[in-house]
């Protein structure tokens, strides 16, 4: 018993920080409508500022005030104004991608602005971090632990006072309960949610400052891990309850220390501790969803406003006149007409698809260059781009077509690569066979991911897949028979009979063939019956089941196919590099992959291919710059994230639509930049979400 106590007490400070993160996440989620994954980045920025200020000779209390009460809310408000306010009513994907992008970009931007890393170990907010002040039982309590616990207790007390005793606290509780009903009582929910945003940003900043001394050096990755614990706490609070999130965070902190104390050393033990939040996610997420379904008021929300970006996509669509009447081209994601063979002459068809023509020309020139004059290391980059293009295509299928958000796509790719290598090495197979087997193994993992998450959609699904990515990183990949830990797995180049693909140009051609096969597969699925079912499921899962689509089965199938394709891409990448280590496809890569392909274009095959090539080419060009600019990619990333909120259809589709319009105007075939509206739109435009109920009343 006393041993349990000894293990549990050191967990309390951790639990305090987790709880703070959880509370902050719930607060913004309920009051501002966004599950702010950039929270970890906000914490990092304030933690960094605090350490720098102390290093420059500021007293710690002053540095703390500036970092927590000044910079924290400032960053939060800027993000809110620039970004999150615009996407309040958008689809889960459009809400998720910017916050993921910021999670990755913001710390790098902060590091660039700072210009260097701090030279001193991060100090505690007060007290001396290393000194032991007294013992609780036999557990020594250092200044670090005391300062974290005391600060958290003070903040929680302040929150309780705020929520229970002040008018704004009461309003905030009301907004958290139901923004719409609150507005009915004449309270400006926008103002209240801005306040909630400031408050939660302060909490993030506080958590960032408190956490800093736990590490000898500030590192954005540690803050991402912290964020993940905070997410778990928020999920225990079912995204809704502040006290539950608080208790959940504390419980997680204590539980992870107890686990670490009792479990024997080994992969499972070292892996299980960091994956604890994900076990929690998987166990608790279904409940959060269930609650929504059982909530009798859930139906009272008005219809979701048309997504600004999607409407923009349609507005950019061009209607060209053809012989068989109007032909709507390039409308939004995976839109097809009933008469795909509308054009009569080849010339007209080409004219209607100028983007396709441009794509083939550029692609052809690139391949030609690769085979003739491109230098070996750029040829390598191009081949990497193809491998990533294949992985991106798996997301085009899963997220673009069927609307399922996956944050574990890199894990599928990794498993595919490892399996291909292991099969090739141990069974003495050609890598091509290994690649097929690797894809099959990844597909099996896809089913394993899909089955327990069948009832989840949108954000909860994204978080659950993130859970799987971390489980894979911590428990699956370190094993010798999978990813072989830090050493990695050798993945040979394939051979077909006498033909070897050791030479870089022949391997490039092989990669191109695999890409063409995968792209063809994705296109066939997208154009066929399954694509139509997937589009229906993306549009409305409820309506899809009630027209008779077995949505669960469809989801398992699409997860399996997508994971399989990602596995093939991963195997190709591994074979190109010669070896593959778990870090090549860790969970952070999953986040980056989703953000990159969403920004470039999830709606088309060309989007995925362009994303692959641009991504690797950017990495390559930036690697030639001096180290000072290493974070430039992150800056680009952040800017692209901003553009994404304006054009969620992606860069490729956006430019494509512009090109269609241009060609139409030039040839005089342009009729209108809008598909003619029949009347007022069925979905009210964004902003109408403030209307508390539909005019005709809402019924159950």
């Amino acid at each position: 018993m006393s041993q349990l106590f000894n293990y549990a007490v050191p967990g309390i400070p951790f639990g305090c920080v987790f709880a703070l993160m959880g509370v902050g996440l719930v607060l913004t989620y309920k009051a501002a409508g966004v599950f702010n994954l950039a929270f970890g980045a906000q914490a990092f920025v304030s933690g960094l500022a605090f350490v720098f200020l102390v290093q420059d000779g500021w007293p710690r209390w002053a540095a703390g005030i500036i970092a927590i009460l000044g910079l924290g809310p400032l960053v939060g408000l800027v993000l809110d104004r620039l970004l999150f306010r615009r996407i309040r009513t958008a689809s889960p994907l459009v809400k998720l991608v910017p916050s993921l992008g910021l999670l990755i970009a913001l710390p790098q931007v902060a590091l660039i602005i700072a210009g260097s890393t701090p030279q001193i170990p991060p100090p505690a907010l007060f007290l001396d971090a290393q000194t032991v002040y007294f013992h609780l039982g036999s557990v020594p309590l250092s200044g670090l632990e005391l300062s974290i616990t005391v600060a958290t207790v003070l903040v929680v007390a302040a929150l309780v006072v705020l929520f229970r005793l002040t008018p704004v606290g009461l309003e905030m509780r009301a907004v958290v309960e139901s923004p719409r009903l609150t507005e009915l009582f004449g309270i400006n929910a926008g103002r209240v949610s801005a306040f909630a945003w400031v408050l939660s940003s302060c909490i993030a900043a506080l958590a960032g400052v408190l956490l800093a001394p736990l590490y000898s050096q500030l590192n954005p990755e540690d803050y991402t891990v912290l964020l993940v614990w905070g997410i778990a706490a928020a999920v225990i609070g079912r995204f809704a309850s502040l006290p539950l999130a608080l208790v959940g965070g504390l419980g997680l902190g204590v539980a992870q220390q107890i686990l670490a104390g009792y479990l024997p050393a080994g992969i499972i033990a070292t892996g299980l501790r960091p994956s604890l939040p994900f076990v929690v996610l998987l166990v608790f997420l279904p409940f959060s969803r269930q609650r929504q379904l059982d909530d009798p008021l859930a139906d009272c929300d008005p219809p979701i406003a048309a997504l600004a970006g999607e409407a923009r996509g349609y507005r950019a669509a061009a209607t060209l006149t053809g012989d068989r009447g109007d032909e709507t081209v390039a409308v939004g994601l995976w839109h097809r007409t009933l008469h795909p063979d509308g054009g009569t002459s080849i010339g007209r068809r080409l004219l209607q698809r100028p983007t396709a023509v441009l794509g083939w020309v550029v692609g052809g020139l690139a391949v030609l260059s690769a085979l003739t004059w491109v230098s070996p290391d750029w040829l390598l980059t191009m081949t990497q781009g193809i491998a990533f293009g294949i992985i991106f295509l798996s997301l085009t299928l899963l997220t673009g077509m069927s609307g399922q958000i996956s944050l574990c796509q890199a894990s599928f790719a990794g498993l595919g690569g490892f399996a291909a290598g292991q099969f090739a090495n141990h069974l003495d197979l050609s890598l091509l066979a290994g690649m097929v087997l690797g894809g099959a193994m990844a597909a099996v993992l896809g089913v394993v991911v899909a089955l327990p998450t069948l009832r989840l959609a949108g954000l909860p699904l994204a978080l659950a897949t993130l859970a799987f990515a971390l489980l894979a990183d911590n428990i699956l990949f370190p094993n010798g028979w999978v990813g072989n830990g830090a050493t990695g797995v050798l993945v040979p180049r394939p051979e077909i009979g006498p033909i070897s693909f050791n030479a870089s140009r022949s391997f490039f051609l092989l990669a191109l063939v695999v890409l063409a096969l995968v792209a063809g597969l994705v296109k066939l699925i997208g154009d066929g019956t399954m694509g139509r079912f997937l589009a229906a499921m993306r549009g409305s899962e409820v309506a899809a089941v009630s027209v008779g689509i077995d949505v669960h089965r469809l989801r398992v199938v699409v997860f399996a196919v997508s994971a399989g394709l990602a596995g093939v891409g991963g195997a190709l990448y591994g074979s190109l590099q010669g070896s593959l280590a778990p870090n090549d496809f860790n969970y952070q890569i999953s986040l980056v992959l989703l953000v990159v392909v969403a920004i470039v274009g999830l709606g088309s095959i060309s989007g995925a291919v362009v994303a692959g090539v641009v991504y690797t080419a950017l990495l390559k060009s930036l690697s030639t710059l001096p180290a000072r600019y290493a974070g430039l990619l992150a800056v680009l990333f952040g800017l692209a994230t901003l553009s994404y909120t304006r054009h969620p259809e992606g860069v490729v589709d956006y430019l494509g639509n512009r090109l269609v319009g241009l060609v139409g105007r030039l040839t005089g075939r342009w009729r209108d930049d809008l598909p003619p509206r029949t009347d007022a739109p069925a979905h009210p435009p964004t902003g109408v979400e403030r209307v508390p109920m539909a005019a005709d009343g809402v019924d159950r």
């Binding site: 009933l338 154009d527 066929g528 005709d696």
Partner: protein, 254 residues
């Protein structure tokens, strides 16, 4: 009523402290049109969700065509021949009008055709396209077939929902306030389409509605719900004359 197509018995559903449905029973005969009216919050949409399985009822049984369906997944009930529209419209955003009907048509026909797609670029069959086109004509939507639903007016969007529910020749149509948000002319058009479908296909209809003109035009029998209980059942005239109904639904002054 022995030959009932749909037979629901003692359906109850509570949400926390709220009783949405209290041991409600409902029969719908083959080809019959039943109206369900009641004040907001009476439990009408919950009744639909319980019958179709979107919200599992706490107690009670549902039979369709003599088979127990209350343990079946929603999609299977739909394939048995139950079409449904939503009060809060649930359209497939980004898809065209014609594709909405085509998806429903194909979904009724069977499961995912992944291998078919991969092997021969599955195009919709001539028969499926014919069904879609005749439905479009019936609804008067043929002009808009290739428009994405996102740019449709509310009236047209409601017709798309109705059309989607009609595909695959369901034997029972469950319409949840199809006229909400429509003007008088659009409502009249809706009534004539529903009547046409009933006449040509013999489809049974359950109609949840506030618009009593539409109800009067379409239904054979009217049920009044209040606080999850069946207040009155009978012909439109009988029910409307019922004192309790006037109290609960129309207000005591009516």
């Amino acid at each position: 009523m022995t030959g009932a197509l749909l037979r629901a018995r003692d359906i109850s559903r509570r949400f926390g402290g709220i009783t949405a449905l209290a041991e409600l029973s409902l029969d719908v005969g083959e080809g019959e049109a039943v109206g369900v009216v009641g004040p907001n919050g009476a439990g009408k949409t919950t009744l639909f969700n319980c019958l179709l399985g979107l919200t599992p009822p706490d107690t009670g049984t549902v039979e369709f065509d003599g088979r127990r369906i209350d343990r079946m997944p929603v999609w299977r009930r739909s394939r048995l021949g139950i079409g449904r529209t939503y009060q809060r419209m649930e359209l497939f955003r980004g898809m065209t009008v014609a594709d909405h009907l085509l998806v429903a048509e194909q979904a009724h026909a069977g499961t995912v055709r992944l291998w078919g797609d991969l092997l021969h670029h599955a195009r919709p069959s001539r028969e499926e396209l014919d069904h879609v086109e005749s439905a479009l004509r019936l609804l008067g939507l043929d002009e808009l077939a290739d428009r994405p639903v996102d740019v449709l007016s509310l009236g047209h969007a409601r017709l798309v929902e109705l059309g989607r529910a009609m595909m695959g020749r369901p034997r029972l149509l469950m319409l949840d306030e199809p006229s909400s948000g429509l003007d008088a002319a659009e409502t009249a058009r809706l009534a004539s389409i529903i009547t046409d479908v009933r006449r040509s296909e013999g489809t049974a209809v359950v109609l949840v509605e506030h618009d009593l003109t539409l109800v009067g035009d379409v239904v054979d029998r009217l049920c009044v719900l209040d606080f999850g209980r069946m207040l009155a059942v009978g012909s439109v005239g009988e029910v409307m004359a019922d004192e309790r109904v006037r109290q609960a639904y129309l207000g005591s002054g009516a």
